[in-house]
């Protein structure tokens, strides 16, 4: 018999509408599943059990409201979203006891649409990392293999969905932080267009790249989650003034309507044999179904990693300047003077990756280096935008691998930041460009680890991007359920 926690978001919604089960029953089932699997995968930093049950009972009392898109649906949000009633830590010791005084626009909209926020999920400190190992509160484990990383920085979000704790989650994607963990954990992850979803109340990493987006088990579920949060917000001046289309009820695309561009630089890259094998098969399935696959060129892509790490670190270095121990968060006790308050607080409060990027960002903005690094990187960003724009004139979407390797054993690259940065090569160019991207599971390798592929679209093309994602889903093998030891 199917358990309630096994249902995807659309199925949950349908079941609630038909009164097959109540919101409380669904919430209790997810909470039970979460409690059972959490010791193995450690996806959550805070479980909001009491609040969730109270909300669930309240929704049941008031009865179903079909105007609320997420009525009664249990979700998790990454711990970079400000939310009242639980600490908002961003995975940092600096904020381990920090309670926000306000709620993120995304959180407010999720609640307004009747969602139930079950937990806040683990992430790399301040969303800086690709494995969730830089969380000050310990790593999250991959639901497919507990000795491996779930990816990052939204690793907790991906693991909570892939581990069937919740049918949907929200994360953030600055250089691939939604798409890469979705690929490594075997779920669907959507990075919306920069400017589609309000950043208000999301702890900032790289302000001109950060974008919140959903993770779920289907592309359609991602569409429903995006629908609830997208659109103008007076509190975020960088939002695009753009109408929000219907992401849920789009006309299904036929495979032969689609032309996908395959960037040569990615598909010819040195892919892990298991990744290569799964993606070869996935490509064959597309060709067989009648999709038109063409090769495209992104000539400047080799500069993308350097440009991204200069620009994102520059923004991060000043975004993180507020963590000085003066007003809130961790403070070095009994500092000798002001300078010591600053240095000791930040040495202790901030972890190694955050400190590394602050140093890098401070360096590239410094007098005498700005022209050579920051300005050059901003110019490279423009070139990469142009490359992607040009490639997208020849096809509907670009299709690319997400990660060159499957989920890796914990601890593999902790002392090798440059290798890890290079591993973002196939996700971060999209953040330099600003368009939306959708990561979809392409299959399972012989090593029983999921492999993902991603679609990139023009800015504000999420509606058709989701439709295209549904085509891929329908053609590619459906992943089995990962076996997680439960207690």
């Amino acid at each position: 018999m199917t358990q309630l926690w096994q249902l995807n978001l659309a199925q949950c919604s349908e079941g609630l509408k038909n009164k097959d089960f109540s919101v409380t029953e669904l919430t209790e089932a997810c909470l039970k599943r979460l409690t059972e699997t959490e010791p193995a995968i450690k996806s959550c930093l805070a479980v909001l059990e009491d609040q969730a049950l109270e909300t669930a009972r309240d929704l049941d009392r008031r009865g179903n409201d079909s105007s609320r898109l997420l009525w009664g649906l249990p979700l998790t949000v990454k711990d970079v979203f400000c939310l009242k009633g639980a600490p908002t830590t961003a995975g940092s010791r600096q904020l381990s006891d920090y309670y926000s005084v306000f709620e993120a626009t995304v959180v407010r909209r999720l609640k307004a649409h009747g969602a139930i926020i079950l937990a806040k999920t683990n992430c790399d400190e301040f969303a800086m990392g690709s494995s969730t190992e830089f969380s000050a509160f310990g790593p999250t484990r991959n639901p497919w293999d507990r000795q491996r990383v779930p990816g990052g920085s939204s690793g907790g979000a991906a693991a909570s969905v892939a581990g069937f704790q919740v049918p949907g989650a929200f994360g953030t994607d600055t250089g691939g932080s939604i798409r890469q963990p979705a690929a490594l954990c075997g779920c669907v992850g959507l990075k919306p267009t920069y400017g589609r979803v309000s950043r208000y109340g999301i702890i900032a990493y790289g302000s001109s790249f950060d974008q919140a987006g959903p993770l779920a088990r289907t592309a359609a579920d991602c569409g429903r989650l995006l629908q609830a949060v997208a659109g103008p917000d007076a509190y975020d001046a960088t939002l695009a003034d753009c109408p929000v289309p219907d992401f849920v009820n789009q006309r299904p695309l036929k495979p032969n309507e689609l032309t996908l561009g395959l960037p040569r630089q990615f598909w010819n890259a040195d892919l892990h044999p298991q990744v290569a094998k799964v993606l070869d098969e996935a490509r064959n399935l597309l060709t067989k179904a009648g999709l038109n696959l063409i090769e495209v060129d992104l000539p400047n892509i080799k500069y993308a990693v350097a440009a991204y790490y200069i620009l994102a670190s520059a923004e991060a270095s000043t975004n993180l300047a507020r963590y000085d121990g003066v007003r809130y968060g961790f403070r070095q006790p009994d500092p000798g003077d002001l300078m010591e308050l600053y240095t000791k607080t930040r040495q202790t409060g901030l972890g190694p990756e955050a400190r590394r990027r602050i140093l890098l960002g401070t360096f590239v903005l410094s007098s005498g280096y700005y022209e050579a690094y920051y300005r050059k990187a901003a110019q490279v960003r423009r070139l990469i935008k142009n490359d992607i724009e040009a490639a997208l004139t020849r096809c509907h979407f670009l299709l690319a691998p997400v990660s060159a390797i499957p989920a890796w054993p914990l601890g593999s690259f902790l002392d090798d930041p440059l290798t890890v940065y290079q591993m973002d090569l196939m996700t971060l160019p999209l953040n330099l460009y600003g368009g939306p991207g959708l990561s979809v599971p392409a299959g399972l390798g012989d090593d029983n680890l999921p492999v993902g592929a991603q679609l990139w679209g023009k800015p504000m093309s999420e509606a058709s991007l989701i439709s295209a994602g549904r085509v891929l889903e329908s053609l590619w093998p459906k992943l089995p359920e990962p076996q997680i030891p439960v207690i």
Partner: protein, 480 residues
């Protein structure tokens, strides 16, 4: 050694006259309990984002236009990074390139009797920091963030000034202009108008600038003058003794009347400016610009001229232009009582001092312009003596009562009625036989004493001229 001359440039900070802060909805200004005008945005909470106050942009553009500068239709905010406990985000949000305004000038009287244009380099918007309050007794520092995020414009001059007198005149003229435009309230004691002074010496006639000192944060015209004069003496002495002027940031200690180094160039901040990614470019449309241009009042010089033609004295004009709202009040009153000189005197001697004392604005005074005009009318019609009017004023100002009704009710109308006057004359003559005798003996100067006694008897309601004439007549009649 050749003669040295000072080269001075100013960076003026004026707090914009907006209801709310630059990037959030908290009230800007007002003396309230510490940390009450704060929110997640102006205290730099994680996740908060700025949103720009459109009114601040309009005021900055207005100032730029009034100073003859060019408003840039596209300008950018930048982050200026440094650490200080009163700076919640760890950066100030300012403008680097392009700023909202470029160029412009303001003229001051030159030493040779002509005018000298002081060129402006730029005008940009930025947010203010909070305040550190040092509690010496308990050896700790408290932070008040009410001021954090309050909008400022910074007006940067070219190094065109060459004396403390010019600098002070420039600042006074600029202050009076910005206050009149209602770009700033300009209350110096509140720090709403303050400046940094850059000053160096160079050999007379040379175009090579010397090493400069920067005196920070002066909030009084007098201190600006004193600080510049002190700094000129200090730098001159250094040059004369063969020493070297260091590039320094200085603080002016007004109690000791001297400058003191805060930090030298070696410790200077590297602000690591870069474009603020949380704010889109600031766009000012041509339509908006045209609107602002049309809202500008005529230049101060034009108003000054027309006021002088009405017969107002120079310091009366200055007083009216310097006090925000005073000019509008005056003009409203003037419509009802077209005798500028008398009105101007009443404003300067009674109305403006009363406002200052009660801390109200001309607009919110219960004594409206029509009432002041009525008071002036009563005086010019001879109904009220100057003394009676001045005695009555505090009550009028306090209650906003109609002057005519009050005069009526109190029986304060000037007495010209002959029989009442004759009664007082008789009383004075009867009460002061010695003085009358002296008068008749030729000591006519004693008349003014007797007139004074009469005025006292009448409680100021007697017409002094008429009283004097009638009293003289009565005394002369005694001779026969």
């Amino acid at each position: 050694m050749s003669e040295m001359e000072p080269v001075i440039g100013l960076e003026v900070h004026a707090q914009l006259n907006t209801r709310t802060k630059l990037f959030c909805a908290c009230p800007a200004g007002g003396s309230v309990e510490p940390n009450t005008h704060i929110c997640e945005i102006c205290t730099g909470q994680p996740g908060a984002l700025p949103r720009l106050n459109g009114r601040a942009v309009e005021l900055a553009a207005k100032a730029t236009l009034a100073l003859g500068g060019q408003v840039n239709g596209y300008s950018l905010f930048a982050r200026k990074n440094y650490f200080y406990p009163d700076l919640p985000n760890g950066f100030q949000t300012s403008q680097l390139d392009p700023p909202i305004g470029t160029g412009g000038s303001l003229s001051v009287a030159a030493g040779d009797g002509g005018r000298k244009a002081i060129r402006l380099n730029r005008i940009h918007m930025e947010d203010d920091a909070g305040k550190c309050v040092h509690d010496e007794k308990r050896d700790r520092t408290l932070i008040d963030l009410n001021r954090a995020g309050v909008p400022l414009i910074e007006i940067v001059t070219e190094p065109d000034l060459s004396s403390s007198r010019e600098a002070m005149e420039f600042l006074k003229t600029l202050h009076s202009l910005l206050v009149r435009l209602e770009v700033t309230k300009g209350r110096l004691e509140e720090g709403e108008f303050r400046c940094d002074v850059n000053i160096s010496l160079k050999p007379k006639g040379s175009s090579v600038l010397g090493v400069r000192g920067e005196i920070k944060n002066l909030n009084s015209f007098k201190f600006v003058g004193q600080a510049i004069d002190y700094e000129i003496r200090r730098q001159s002495a250094l040059y004369e003794s063969g020493g070297r002027v260091e590039q320094q940031t200085l603080h002016f200690d007004h109690l000791k009347g001297e400058t003191r180094a805060l930090r030298s160039k070696e410790e200077a901040h590297d602000y690591r400016y870069f474009p603020q990614p949380d704010l889109p470019p600031v766009l000012v449309s041509r339509v908006k610009l045209r609107e602002i241009v049309q809202s500008l009042p005529p230049p101060a010089d034009t108003i000054k001229e027309s006021y002088k033609e009405l017969g107002l004295k120079e310091d009366t004009v200055t007083a009216l232009l310097d006090r925000p709202g005073a000019q509008a009040y005056f003009e409203e009153a003037f419509k009802r009582f077209p005798e500028a000189k008398r009105l101007g005197t009443l404003m300067v001697e009674l109305f403006l001092p009363a406002l200052r004392q009660s801390g109200t604005d001309p607009q919110s005074a219960v004594m409206g312009p029509a009432k002041l005009a009525a008071l002036a009318r009563l005086m010019s019609d001879g109904v009220l003596t100057k003394k009676a009017a001045y005695d009555l004023f505090p009550e009028l100002f306090e209650t906003g009562a109609d002057p005519r009704q009050l005069v009526e009710a109190r029986g304060l109308s000037r007495v010209r009625d002959e029989s009442t006057l004759q009664g007082w004359i008789m009383e004075v003559i009867a009460g002061h036989p010695e003085e009358v005798k002296k008068y008749l003996a030729g000591q006519t100067k004693i008349l003014s004493f007797l007139v004074g006694q009469l005025m006292r008897l009448s409680r100021g309601t007697a017409d002094p001229q008429k009283a004097s004439a009638s009293l003289t007549q009565a005394l002369e009649d005694l001779r026969s």
